[in-house]
């Protein structure tokens, strides 16, 4: 099936993790790693003070350390080089924002560089994205809008229409999402892809709640993996209700409209 907002897809599902401490995306990846479908997963891990770092997770333990939304997008290339050039893994999954998925899809379709390293990225996992910050932009936003510095926070999240930051001292601060929107990366404003259309499977919060995550499946083999992961007790999934689909569509439409102004 084709949709302007979902790309070429097979199914839209909602997925919930059955493994303690893992989210839907990480449960799915944990299954792929445990079952040997992939040897490594290139993911972004938040180190201290929400500073992101691209790493290669080789098992579900390493994956567990990477859970949570990162507000800053960073180049994945160091981890790509680690996994593909240094460790010479043959089957690697890469998890990223729509723009990162697009970059990997392009480089696979148009292999300009010498060697075959991108053939060995066998799975692209996308994350819904409305925009992100640069490291400096995130820091400045926290200072100006929340009056706090980066080392003070442990986590940031979006809850309903609020951008919520959790502080080291246990306090919680929040602001309406509209107030932080102006601080996202400029490049995000011209980006029209919400659901990571070039990924084999995309996960996101939009459209689901209560521990469920929406998932857009674009590849038959991924669908088989999901069902195998469900059989192995890693996760459960069901078709996403129409309400959920409409919600994702709405966000995707908003993002595309925002980007259209820059065309």
């Amino acid at each position: 099936m084709y949709s302007e907002y979902f790309g070429e897809y097979i199914k839209i599902l909602k997925v919930r993790s059955l493994k303690k401490g893992l989210g839907a995306t990480t449960s799915y990846l944990a299954y792929c790693l445990d079952a040997g479908v992939i040897e490594g997963a290139i993911v972004v891990k938040a180190t201290e003070h929400c500073k992101p770092e691209a790493v290669v997770a080789r098992n579900s333990e390493e994956l567990r350390a990477t859970i949570g939304t990162k507000w800053v997008t960073i180049p994945l290339i160091d981890a790509i080089i680690d996994a593909l050039r240094i460790e010479r893994m043959d089957k690697v999954a890469i998890i990223g924002t729509p723009c990162q998925c697009q970059a990997i899809r392009d480089i696979k379709e148009y292999p300009m560089q010498l060697g075959d390293i991108f053939e060995r990225i066998t799975m692209i996992v996308g994350l819904f994205c409305m925009g992100s910050f640069t490291q400096d932009g995130f820091k400045t936003m926290l200072e100006r809008k929340f009056g706090i510095t980066l080392p003070e926070i442990v986590k940031a999240d979006i809850k309903a229409d609020k951008f919520v930051v959790y502080l080291r001292n246990g306090k919680i601060k929040e602001l309406p999402i509209d107030e932080v929107k102006g601080d996202i990366k400029f490049a995000c404003l011209s980006c029209d892809d919400f659901t990571a259309k070039s990924a084999d499977i995309s996960f996101g919060n939009a459209g689901s709640s209560n521990g469920w995550r929406s998932a857009i499946v674009r590849d038959e083999s991924v669908l088989n993996l999901l069902s195998a992961a469900a059989d192995a007790g890693y996760l459960e999934y069901r078709p996403l209700e129409q309400d959920g689909i409409t919600e994702i569509e709405k966000m995707a439409r908003d993002k595309a409209a925002r980007a259209a102004q820059f065309k």
């Binding site: 800053v72 997008t73 960073i74 180049p75 994945l76 290339i77 790509i80 080089i81 924002t97 723009c99 990162q100 697009q102 970059a103 392009d106 480089i107 379709e109 148009y110 292999p111 300009m112 560089q113 010498l114 075959d116 640069t134 490291q135 400096d136 990366k185 400029f186 490049a187 995000c188 011209s190 980006c191």
Partner: protein, 222 residues
């Protein structure tokens, strides 16, 4: 599919990578003085050209013109032929050909249909191009067609048109593809060291944000 290949001012790296294309069973090489014995240009579907044109060397110009007449499509292979590449640094007065001074990309001399950059153009991209051409996959060929309009491309163009224009998403693919590692990601954005850049245009073609332009039908000047 009948193909010809001519080599102008280049290092032969592209031609060596091109050898792999000849393993495709539907390819028939009808002219290539460096590889086969046939000395007269033949009618062909594609005329591949690698290397830039030395304007002081009349044979370069005459063979290009003849190639254009005899081939349905002209495809430039590698950065020297497409955008000048490293031959943009030529100063002339060098041995053994002291008379050779001026080097231009092929599209400045004859009409070109597709440009495949790279220093050298990779085996895989050449194969993918030929396969797409064979199948008539216009959509895949579009970026190569659009790139013809670009007569020069370097890290500076990436800086100007992508990074400074606020389009860069910081994916790092430019840094990964640069053959001389002239690009370093600093604070999540590419920083080009122009003293290292060999003006191959790989990063420029590679950048997924540039693909927005390169993938457009009838893209104007890029």
């Amino acid at each position: 599919m009948r193909v010809s290949y001519i080599k102008l001012a280049d290092c032969s790296g592209c031609m060596i990578n091109f050898l792999d294309v000849l393993s495709l069973d539907y390819i028939e090489l009808v002219y290539c003085p460096n590889l086969i014995d046939n000395r007269t240009l033949q009618q062909a579907d594609i005329g591949f050209v690698s290397g830039s044109v030395c304007m002081e060397f009349k044979e370069h110009i005459s063979i290009l013109k003849e190639l254009r007449e005899k081939c349905r499509h002209i495809v430039t292979v590698g950065s020297c032929a497409c955008v000048g590449g490293i031959t943009r640094f030529c100063r002339g007065d060098q041995l053994p050909q002291t008379g050779h001074k001026t080097f231009l990309p092929v599209s400045e001399v004859i009409e070109v249909d597709y440009a495949i950059p790279g220093c050298p153009a990779s085996t895989m991209i050449l194969k993918k191009f030929v396969e797409a051409y064979h199948k008539g996959n216009e959509k895949y060929l579009l970026p190569f067609k659009n790139l013809v309009k670009k007569k020069r491309a370097s890290g500076q163009d990436l800086q100007d048109e992508i990074v400074s224009a606020g389009l860069c998403v910081g994916c790092g693919m430019c840094a990964l593809s640069c053959p001389v590692e002239a690009i370093e990601m600093i604070k999540g954005l590419p920083e080009v060291r122009m003293d290292k850049c060999i003006r191959c245009g790989t990063c420029y073609f590679r950048c997924p944000r540039n693909f927005l332009k390169l993938r457009k039908e009838n893209a104007e000047v890029i």
